[in-house]
Symmetry: C2
Subunit: 289 residues, 2 copies
């Protein structure tokens, strides 16, 4: 990989790894993002400092992705570094989206859905094994897999690797089998919603943190949040979408929604993952900070 | 430098460069810090995203310091990266304290005043030249130098380097001549106040962000802030100390002080520099995040 932008880490300009780290930080530096840890407030056991440390710790893995390391290796290292704080899982889902995007950004003159689709397409069984290893570093909230692939339950961590090898599944195959997961859907659709949300952030006005907050509420209204559904069921997830649709564009209503979600323990984490990925793309496209 | 902790950048544990980056982030992730950009609020033209981008951009220079690069080179690179955002000077003073501390932490089993004094003592004329070059990247608010060293005015940037070479001044010599500057004082005293404040953070209880906020007000009450004096004069700087002494320990009074300082444009930036350096030392000593 000879693109000079990859050398952001040694020069003064931000390269893809640095923009990914900044996107992770802008995620908690923006507010309101109803129900999530953000600039305005913490949750009971999950605080802003855990996200700041998670973003710092992710740096080495993200730089490996920018330098051309396999997606699985870079992801596993990023998750290992992210986990070096006491808050638990802060940015696993964000990194699952960011790592292939960073690879794609480092490999091309400009970041495109086709570029990241190529990265996804080129993943291997070894990448899938590293993805499972990453679950060993931190507890990740995931739903039950379909019965016919129970041996591939991500919660089994590295124990699932033999089953993975036997079936010859690449990381792209694993994502294609993760039906109904918001992050896996990005992997299988050329990051369709990520790029659409990045365009919304780019075309909006004002400080980037305000743009992120607005795009967060829009996305919450648009698609069911996987983490909310996993923790609270489909009815609550559908209600969150309706409530976000009603509140969007009205700062007071959004602030009320935030308070209510925090009180009810409703934490739309998958929407935050998508917003972080979209923020990264917007930064790569030149949105100014 | 063979200490395995230097390899934080490639492993999962945070090394000195990563702890320095985290300290920069915790500085804006904590609140209230009366008069400064913090988690609670921005200033008119200086916002949290500028500090987040500054911390990300500083990473490469900080990693060079941890890897044993000369203090001047690492500092100039860190400032160059920090400056890649549109808010102007965010963390020049912080980096002036962090770079020798990172070098000292990477060279020893445990970070001590003696270790950083050795780093200061070993600086060269080349380090001083790089320090002056760093002023080319960003506008830094500094006071007028004494008349007999007007040719060494930091605002001259690289133009001052010939005078520097002629006099054979090392970076340590330059700091010793910067009388009355809070950051230079740390350089000439073995980082006395930095280590004392780090001990206060370590010995306090609760989330690290709350400890930082409390230690900030204590430090504001203890020593005149150089940036406040440079911008507003000695009387205002002395008044800030008195006001902080009255408010400390009373969250409501501290919140009022914050509002008042923001309204008056009183921005105790040198105190924030010292707190960031102290946070780094506390992290190196094992304070948990």
């Amino acid at each position: 990989v000879n693109d000079p932008r990859v050398n952001g880490a040694d020069g003064s300009r931000r390269g893809p790894a640095e923009n990914a780290q900044l996107a992770l930080l802008l995620d908690v530096g923006s507010a309101p993002k109803p129900g999530n840890v953000d600039r305005d407030h913490d949750l009971a056991d999950l605080r802003i400092e855990h996200f700041l440390a998670g973003a710092v710790g992710s740096g080495a893995g993200l730089r490996r992705a920018a330098a051309g390391a396999p997606v699985g290796v870079a992801f596993e290292r990023a998750v290992a570094g992210m986990s070096e704080q006491s808050g638990g899982n802060t940015q696993f889902g964000c990194l699952l989206l960011l790592v292939p995007l960073v690879r794609a950004a480092a490999e091309a003159q400009s970041l495109s859905p086709e570029g990241v689709a190529d990265v996804v397409e080129s993943t291997t069984v070894a990448d899938a094994a590293d993805f499972y290893r990453a679950f060993e570093h931190v507890d990740v909230a995931v739903g039950d897999p379909p019965e016919d692939i129970a041996d591939l339950d991500a919660r089994r961590g590295a124990d699932a690797i033999p089953a993975l090898r036997e079936r010859g599944l690449t990381l792209s195959d694993v994502m294609a089998r993760s039906e109904g997961d918001g992050n896996a859907r990005e992997w299988t659709t050329g990051f369709e919603r990520t790029f659409a949300t990045a365009a919304a952030i780019r075309d909006d006005d004002g400080p980037i943190t305000d743009r992120i907050s607005r795009a967060f509420v829009d996305q919450l209204a648009r698609d069911e949040d996987t983490l909310v559904r996993t923790k609270h069921g489909s009815e609550v997830a559908a209600d969150v979408m309706r409530r976000a649709a009603d509140a969007r564009g009205d700062p007071e209503a959004v602030a009320e929604l935030d308070e209510e979600f925090v009180a009810a323990g409703i934490n739309p984490g998958t929407t935050a993952d998508l917003l972080t990925a979209a923020t990264f793309v917007a930064l790569e496209w030149g949105v100014e900070v």
